[in-house]
Symmetry: C2
Subunit: 391 residues, 2 copies
C-alpha cells in the first residue's frame, strides 16, 4: 500500500483542511509537521522521544544519506526505518535542494547534476532515475522527484529554464518509479514568478502524482512573497491530493500555510533554533540563554506540559546552555518539537470543529515573531535587488 490520502474536513471561509495520510507505517493525521532528520536522526533525540512528543512522520535527506553512510549500507540494513529505529512514517527529500544549496561546483544538464560532496569534495553524478532508485533503496513511505531549485533572486529566464527542467525530470522520475508501497510526490517550482508557478502546478498536476510539493520557497524572500506563491500554486493543484510546503515551519508560517490549504510541512527551524536557545511560546520566541532566566525557578515556558518544562526550571535549562552542556540542546529540542506537535494537533482539532478562522485570528494576534526587524530588513534588501518586481 502506498501513501494514500483522504481529506476529512475542509473549513468554510478558508482553504484549511484536515486529512489522513495512510502509509505502510501508520496513519498520519494532517496538517502535519515533519521534524528534520537529515542524517537519519532528528538531532539529539531518540525515536522513543519523538513518539512521546507525538511525532508521526519525519523527513530524511537522500543527499546526506547518499554521502554518509551510503544508500547501499542502509539498504543492506533493511532500509531507513530499521536503520534509524523509527517505525513511524518517513518522507525522503530527493536531494535536489541540497545539491543546489550545499554542494559546490555543480554542473546541471538535462541528463542530471554533477556535484561535489560538501564533506570531502568527491565528485558525484545524480539523475532523476538515480534519485528514485536511491529513495527506493532507502525505503521511505513518501519519496520526492529530483528538482532543480533556483535561487530566490534568479532572473525570470533562469527560473523558467530550471522550472521546465524540473518538469522533464518529474516525468522521468515517474517513469523510473517501481515500488508500489512508496508514494512519489512532484515538486512545483517557478521561483517568485506567479506565471511560472502556475505553469508548473498545471503541468505537474496533468502528469498525475500521489502528492504535490511547493518547492523553492522560504529561501530569503519576504514572507508575503512566500505566501503569495503558495496561493498561486495551491489554487491549481488537485483537491484530493496532499500538498506539501517544503522547508517552512515557524509557528506563524504553519498557521498561515494551513490557511492556504497546505497539508504537510517540514523545516529544520524548530530544532535548529532550539539548539541556539530559542523556545517557542504562544506569544512568540523567547531565548532561554537570556541572563534573566538564571533566576527563574518555574518552567521555561509557563503552562507548557512538555517533558522539559514539566521536569526542569528555566534556571536549570539556562545553566545548561551557559555551560554548553549537551543536555541543553536536547531539552530545548524536546520543547520546540512538543510545541509544534501541540500546535498541529490544535490546528487539526479547530479545523474539525469549524473554528480554524477564529483560532488563526487569535493566534496571529497573540504571536509576535521575534525576528520582525530581521525580516523587515530582508524584505527591503530583497525588494531593492528585484527592482520591486513582486509585491
Amino acid at each position: 500500500m502506498s501513501a494514500d490520502f483522504q481529506v476529512v474536513h475542509t473549513c468554510r471561509g478558508s482553504k484549511a483542511r484536515a486529512g489522513e495520510l495512510h502509509t505502510p507505517h501508520g496513519m498520519v493525521p494532517t496538517p502535519v509537521f515533519l521534524p528534520v532528520g537529515s542524517q537519519a536522526t532528528v538531532k539529539t533525540l531518540t525515536p522513543d522521544e519523538l513518539k512521546g512528543i507525538g511525532v508521526t512522520m519525519v523527513l530524511a535527506n537522500t543527499y546526506h544519506l547518499y554521502l554518509r553512510p551510503g544508500v547501499q549500507v542502509i539498504e543492506r540494513m533493511g532500509g531507513l526505518h530499521r536503520f534509524m529505529g523509527w517505525d513511524g512514517a518517513i518522507l525522503t527529500d530527493s536531494g535536489g535542494y541540497q545539491v543546489f544549496s550545499l554542494a559546490p561546483l555543480r554542473q546541471v544538464t538535462d541528463e542530471g547534476v554533477v556535484f561535489r560532496s560538501h564533506i570531502d569534495g568527491s565528485q558525484h553524478f545524480i539523475t532523476p532515475e538515480l534519485a528514485v532508485q536511491f529513495q527506493e533503496a532507502l525505503g521511505a513511505d513518501v519519496i520526492m522527484v529530483l528538482d532543480e531549485c533556483p535561487a530566490h533572486d534568479d532572473s525570470f529566464d533562469r527560473v523558467q529554464e530550471a522550472t521546465r527542467r524540473t518538469h522533464r525530470w518529474a516525468e522521468r522520475c515517474k517513469q523510473a518509479h517501481r515500488r508500489p508501497d512508496q508514494a512519489l510526490y512532484a515538486i512545483v517550482q517557478g521561483g517568485m514568478f506567479p506565471r511560472l508557478r502556475q505553469e508548473s502546478a498545471r503541468y505537474l498536476a496533468s502528469l498525475g502524482f500521489s502528492g504535490y510539493a511547493v518547492g523553492g520557497l522560504s529561501l530569503g524572500e519576504p514572507k508575503q512573497v512566500t505566501l503569495a506563491m503558495v496561493e498561486e500554486t495551491v489554487a491549481l493543484l488537485p483537491e484530493d491530493k496532499p500538498r506539501y510546503l517544503m522547508g517552512v515551519g515557524s509557528p506563524e508560517d504553519l498557521v498561515e500555510g494551513v490557511a492556504r490549504g497546505i497539508d504537510i510541512f517540514d523545516c529544520a527551524l524548530p530544532t535548529r533554533v532550539a539548539r541556539n536557545g530559542a523556545l517557542f511560546t504562544w506569544q512568540g520566541r523567547v531565548n532561554i540563554r537570556n541572563a534573566a532566566y538564571s533566576q527563574v525557578d518555574g518552567p521555561a515556558v509557563p503552562g507548557c506540559d512538555c517533558y522539559t518544562c514539566r521536569t526542569f526550571s528555566a534556571a536549570y535549562v539556562n545553566h545548561l546552555f551557559n555551560c554548553q552542556e549537551l543536555l541543553a540542546y536536547r531539552l530545548a529540542t524536546i520543547h520546540n518539537l512538543s510545541f509544534i506537535s501541540g500546535l498541529m494537533r490544535k490546528i487539526r482539532s479547530v479545523i474539525l470543529d469549524g473554528a480554524f478562522k477564529s483560532f488563526r485570528e487569535d493566534f496571529m494576534a497573540a504571536y509576535r515573531p521575534t525576528d520582525e526587524q530581521v525580516r523587515l530588513s530582508q524584505k527591503q534588501k530583497w525588494l531593492r535587488s528585484r527592482g520591486g518586481i513582486v509585491q
Copy 2:
C-alpha cells in the same frame, strides 16, 4: 539522617565487601560507581535515563557549581537535587581537586586558596569553612573536606606540606559542618609516599569522619603505584566506614579497587571515553568509530542488553559518530554507564555469593585494557622522572 553505612558481607581471602549506604535519598548498595555530573548534569543524559540504567548516586563538583550558576542560585532553587531533577543520592566534591588541577594562578596559605576561574579569570578565595558552607547550601547527601592535592611527581617535602595542611583543613571542615542530614568524608592524601599515606590515614581516622576518601591518585602515576597506595591507605582506615577511591573508574580499576576494600568510586572516564566512541565490553574497549563497524548490522556490543545495543545497530551508531551527531555521544554514554552499572551489580552479587575471587580472576583474564601501550610508556617516563624511587 545523614548517610549511614553498614558492611553486609566481607569476602574471605580478599578485602572486597558489600555494603549499604543509607542516605536521605535512598539506600545505595555498595560497591558503587558514581557517574560524574560536574555541572549538575551527567553529560547528555536526563535523570530518568540514569534511573533506567540503574544509577543510584551521582557526583557533582562544588568548584564548577560555585562558578556557574553559583551556589546561592542552586540554594534558592531548593538545592541540588531539585535543581537537577535527581531524587537519588548525590555526593559533592569540595572543589579542592579542581582548584589544584583546573584553576590557574592559585596561591595556597594555611587560611585557604586564592584562585582564578578557568572560565573568566575572575579571582576567588576558598577556605575549608567556605567549602563546607557551599556544600551545605548545595545540599548533597555526602560532602567532602577541602584538601590540597599535590601533583603526582611533587617532592616528598612538598607532598608532606600539602598532606599536613589537608589534615588541618579536615579538622576545620569538621568544626564548620552543621547539617546533620549530610555526611562529611575526609580525604587521605600523601602522594606516592607510603609513609605519608599511612600518616594521613591514621591521623584522619583519629578525628572520626563518616567516611574516608583516598585522594590524589590516578593522576598519571603507573597503575601499580595507584593500587599500592590504595592498599597502604585502606589498611589503616576503620572497617565500619565507607572508603571512597576518588577519580578512578575504568572497569579493571573498579575490580581491583573492590579487591582492595574500596566501597565507592567516581570517575569521568566512562562518560568521557564514550564521547570519543570507546565502548566497554567484557573483553576490553572497542571503538565504534572504527570503519569496520559501518557494515555491522548487529549491536555494537553483542550480548549487551543496554538501550543502545538493544535498539540500534553498530552501523547506525558508527554513522552517528561519523556525522558528529549529538545522539552518538548520548548512545555511547548510555552503553558505558550501563556496562559499569552492570559490572558493579555483578561484583556485589559475587561478593555476597562468596565468589568474588574467581570472578576477579576470570574478569582480569578476559579483560584486555586497550591502552596497555600508553600505560607502559607512561610508567617508564614516570619512573625515570622519579629516579625509580617507588616500585
